[in-house]
Symmetry: D2
Subunit: 159 residues, 4 copies
Amino acid sequence: MAEMVYIGVIGAAECSGEVAAHAEKLGEGIARLGAVLVCGGRGGVMEAAARGARSAGGTVVGILPGNDPRGGNRYLNVAVATGLGDARNAVIARTCDVLVAVDGGYGTLSEIGLALKMGKPVVGLGTWRCTDCRGKDAEVIPAADAEEALRHCRLLLGL
Amino acid sequence: MAEMVYIGVIGAAECSGEVAAHAEKLGEGIARLGAVLVCGGRGGVMEAAARGARSAGGTVVGILPGNDPRGGNRYLNVAVATGLGDARNAVIARTCDVLVAVDGGYGTLSEIGLALKMGKPVVGLGTWRCTDCRGKDAEVIPAADAEEALRHCRLLLGL
Amino acid sequence: MAEMVYIGVIGAAECSGEVAAHAEKLGEGIARLGAVLVCGGRGGVMEAAARGARSAGGTVVGILPGNDPRGGNRYLNVAVATGLGDARNAVIARTCDVLVAVDGGYGTLSEIGLALKMGKPVVGLGTWRCTDCRGKDAEVIPAADAEEALRHCRLLLGL
Amino acid sequence: MAEMVYIGVIGAAECSGEVAAHAEKLGEGIARLGAVLVCGGRGGVMEAAARGARSAGGTVVGILPGNDPRGGNRYLNVAVATGLGDARNAVIARTCDVLVAVDGGYGTLSEIGLALKMGKPVVGLGTWRCTDCRGKDAEVIPAADAEEALRHCRLLLGL
């Protein structure tokens, strides 16, 4: 079996139609790259990305905060019910080779921080902009749209 | 998409050929039931069960203790690198609808305890026998072989 | 500051008066050894042990499954609200240098398994008896009463 | 026993002398408030805050990422070895009633995100500035120095 590549899509459980359209296109592209899409398994950005990936025949893993593997959106091939609450964000970051942050709330902010702490590349698509006290930006690679985010993923992963 | 059913196979990372044969048959049967096989993703019982499930076209999820999604056996469709160490045993138990314990060491013992604590049915195939201080056995459903374990899984899950 | 020694008392959240009396005596003795008492922070055995330790001026840490640090019993000096559910059992086992299992249900069984997997000594006071499929008992050190359990702790820790 | 209040000090494992001086003053003030100081248990900001709290007779809890309760700095009264890696950041955020972020790297960024996601107030002392894609700042309460951070803590906690 070929080694799997894992790309995370992180974003909030609620989002606008425009953001969902970006996430869906991103999910579709991830599936076309042959990568497994990892997400938090819930609604909003996670669901849109999952729907996109499934529409292109991809594999979607949802890593859920709660206790019920049936608590995720309906586009997951596999749901992992961690029962860990927000600590599951660290499991998402840990599993992924690259993460793409789309828009997002505080959970997404935490995942950006966790992923960068773990040395994982993070691509940002209209997401948080973070600057430390010395004026240095967090090393999130900016992308203007799903296509550019996917180009970054391909380059980062050598696909 | 039909709701997925998750069956865990728990057992040690090293095992005899005889135990591996049981685990492989069990994995094959789980795939034929259409269930997702969940395991700890490593060698021994986990690898044998995964190999069996893949041989029957099934889906195998490995929930790994370490940081590397490439740290699992080669029969996994999806590897989740939790980075949680032994706390990942709780994630395995939480995700599964039923667990089958095959032989096993202390990690397996902990998974039996965690699953029963969570109210998940556990089938035992040549595994730990545990009796509390009042002489009451842990509610592990005994199975003499892989076929009987699979029959229990089917009944428990209404498949 | 002297290095702290951590002794866990694991047991169910409900217990008989007799079991509570054992746990309380155990907690008192742990405090007299100068060790920190670590427990799951809830009722039953955990509360009785905590009460005993506090009565002797000891320090008690409760590692809680839930989200609220005020969700523990009233004898805790420090409550850690893990929000991890049953995965917190692994945190308890990981922190302790020795664990004493008193009576107990499935959660205790899981903690015994986790601690032994991590190579931590476990003393058993009227707790689970576990035998693997080769007839080998889990390496729980039996104690007839709190005094004997404390003697084992002292020997194991070189106190 | 009076209900404990938990104040977290989050920041990087390495920091300048100036930042350490802020953190130490902060730790001292937290102890004088009668609150338990919660931190990640390691060096840099965590050690400086812990040292300050101990100098004022306070209680310091270190929630460590690794497996060894002896792996923390020497100012901890209690060390919890979670063995969870970076997922321990969620345990820190969960346990605290208020968190103060001092300077900090990506781990601190993740803790800010986790705490805000959990609805916990976060005071920032020369830390990350984060703005979402709509130009809205993360709700970190700015403080110019340790005194101002402590005033915020008192107000937030009604002390």
